[in-house]
Symmetry: C2
Subunit: 417 residues, 2 copies
């Protein structure tokens, strides 16, 4: 990992890296005065003037706590020991394409900031770009952030929410989208896990320093994501994930993502904050509805009900890919026409199945053959249940088997393919 750090750093002047490391340490994320000052004078001048106390008063005010004690060289060394590298706007790895929207909103916010009444601070952080990003993982941030989808939601997710998330993230990752989320319990973790299970890529955007995974219970997930994707944080090593940092972190998820899906959200969920950032950036906000009896869908329904800026209601990966998949993204098969198509003898066969069998049928791919383990993941039932359900589906003529596994029988597929 140390080699990567050197590689990423090689193209960037040492003093720029030191300056950005310093700025990342002294300021809270998403500060308009600090971002504007660095933008106007460059990181090296900003670093020196803040350190020397000669920067403007509003910049000194937002950097006062740590500006004397910050030691960027020590931070960069500590980071390297943890396998982290610092990615800066001057580096080739900076995701300029993904950050086009937040660059625009940042510039607009900065312009208003100088106007009378423009100096208010948003409690959830302004939509201004980060000054630098601490990154861990073998993947390249630029390429990870081109075709991306944010998948966020409640920590206290229901089985329904986790099931829908897994289906959606698996299909999105299979179609080549990078799944971006916050690494939290619940929906976030289900999204990262499904992307990894699909053999796809995932980015965890963390609120605290990457030396300590938060939450600790997802440490193994963070390791796997670092192996096959990236961990990203605006905070230097050693920073605790404070409430304000979760909110500013959310703007980064929305900035990386071509569009963001909210799967489950209670009325005051942090996912609604991410949703707000997604809207603020002018990117597609997608929302999965759920039972109106579920507190975990109340926030989702509120987003869908917003009369001024209604979110896109999405019911599965096909809807998501249609909105953010891009022209070159293959839209995966939406599965057998249980939930659609014509009402005919196929529907009757399906009606005769028990719920588990039906769920397994829903999880069968249409084109390639899948193993029982893969089907278990797609169906959100246990592999044992899959193995128990397959003979019944076979007898009913609903599946095709091969050496490679199982898929939906040809006659069960949509006629309009």
């Amino acid at each position: 990992m140390g080699g990567l750090s050197v590689r990423a750093a090689s193209a960037v002047a040492e003093e720029v890296l030191l300056a950005r490391a310093y700025l990342s340490r002294v300021g809270e994320p998403a500060s308009i005065p600090l971002w504007g000052y660095v933008r106007a004078h460059g990181p090296v001048v900003a670093w020196r003037r803040i350190r020397d106390g000669t920067a403007p008063a509003d910049v000194l005010a937002v950097t006062s706590v740590r500006r004397a004690s910050a030691d960027p060289a020590a931070d960069l060394e500590a980071a390297q020991r943890c396998g982290l590298r610092l990615v800066v706007p001057e580096s080739a790895e900076w995701p300029h394409f993904a950050f086009a929207a937040i660059e625009r909103t940042g510039a607009a916010r900065l312009a208003r900031f100088g106007e009378p009444g423009g100096r208010t601070h948003s409690p959830s952080g302004e939509l201004v770009p980060p000054l630098a990003l601490w990154v861990r993982g073998g993947a390249d941030l630029t390429s990870m952030a081109v075709h991306t989808v944010g998948v966020v939601g409640a920590r206290a997710a229901t089985a329904y929410g986790e099931h829908v998330t897994a289906e959606l993230a698996y299909a999105a990752a299979s179609a080549g989208l990078t799944v971006v989320s916050g690494g939290a319990y619940g929906i976030d973790a289900a999204a990262h896990r499904a992307a990894l299970a699909a053999g796809g890529e995932t980015v965890i955007v963390s609120a605290g320093g990457l030396d300590r995974p938060y939450p600790g219970g997802n440490a193994a997930l963070f390791e796997r994501a670092a192996d096959r994707g990236l961990l990203v944080s605006e905070s230097p090593p050693g920073c605790a994930p404070q409430r304000r940092r979760f909110l500013t972190r959310n703007r980064l998820i929305a900035s990386f993502a071509t569009g963001t899906v909210v799967v489950e959200a209670a009325r005051r969920s942090g996912a609604l904050n991410t949703a707000g950032h997604c809207r603020g950036l002018g990117r597609p906000l997608m929302v999965v509805p759920g039972p109106v009896t579920s507190a975990m869908s109340v926030g989702c329904h509120d987003l869908l009900r917003d009369e001024e800026r209604p979110a896109h209601l999405v019911t599965g990966a096909a809807d998501v890919l249609a909105l953010v998949g891009g022209l070159d993204t293959p839209v995966p098969d939406a599965g057998p026409p249980v939930h659609g198509g014509r009402r005919d003898d196929r529907a009757d066969l399906v009606d005769a199945l028990d719920p588990i069998q039906r769920q397994v049928l829903d999880g069968l791919p249409a084109v390639r053959f899948a193993t029982p383990d893969e089907i278990a993941l797609r169906s959100a039932v246990s592999p044992r249940e899959v193995i128990r359900a397959l003979p019944a589906l076979d007898l009913a003529g609903l599946l095709e088997a091969s050496d490679g596994g199982y898929r939906v029988a040809r006659r069960m597929r949509r006629t309009a393919r």
Copy 2:
């Protein structure tokens, strides 16, 4: 019931009643040429000319099958024996207020009908008013059709759909709205039953003649609805409920209702036809979302996703009443702020409850006191479970008890009342 028939008929000339009974028998519902002809010449002239074969060719074409054999005097007698009366536009009981929208769309459709290319027939029936209505029940059609809400949905409803329907229809009926639906199994029946359970009024709009309730399994429900509300059909006694009549019947549900709620609908559900009529009439179409994994919510999500004419997403009776309740309809309390309000100590108390206790808490009324049986109905849990849950809610200080029963504790109610 015979007395009612005489009462309703008393203000209408005998020959008008005979003419309308005849027209109701000879034409299929929702025929533009027939409605336009009756509108232009009055029912008595239309009756004679159709019977004598001197009406225009397009009117004769749509009345050819039964125009010689129809016997309106016999039909009126048979109806009276079944406790039915014929309500006609010339009667004081005709719901002119409710039918204002379909009168308007009918006139517009009639005007276009004369234009080149205007003679196409809609397979689900045109939005033209009925020529007459066969009615059973002690209530008055005019007053029943002033504050109304249509609640429709899948016959093969899920437990979720029936639960949401019951909650919604119960609250709507409690707030004084007449609940209109089609008397079918599933959502329709749940809506009628909940309205009756609330002590409210309900109208069953039937596709076939009212001498034979359809479906037969709901015969007892039809009896109860006739006692406390109304049965209404465009078809004279003896008419079988054919497919086309279900579609034309749906336009009447939408016409009676100030707005219509679709609770559950598969992709090709008849409820979507009612939804289309509701939109065609320019009235609020409300849709309850559900799990994206449920085939019974696919049609609902399609309605909500319609980009040109999105439906209103509703999650409960409060949303429905806000849209169609009218200024004088009291909006019932939406329950404790489990799903809303400020996140505070009340939310923590609620978090500590088990799911059944939470459901019972949701079912507690805010103002009046309710008996355990009533709470069971509102909560959709068994009375036994209610009785088991109440002590825990009491200990937690979440309820208030009196001789009359139980209600939500004052501190649990919305602060913004």
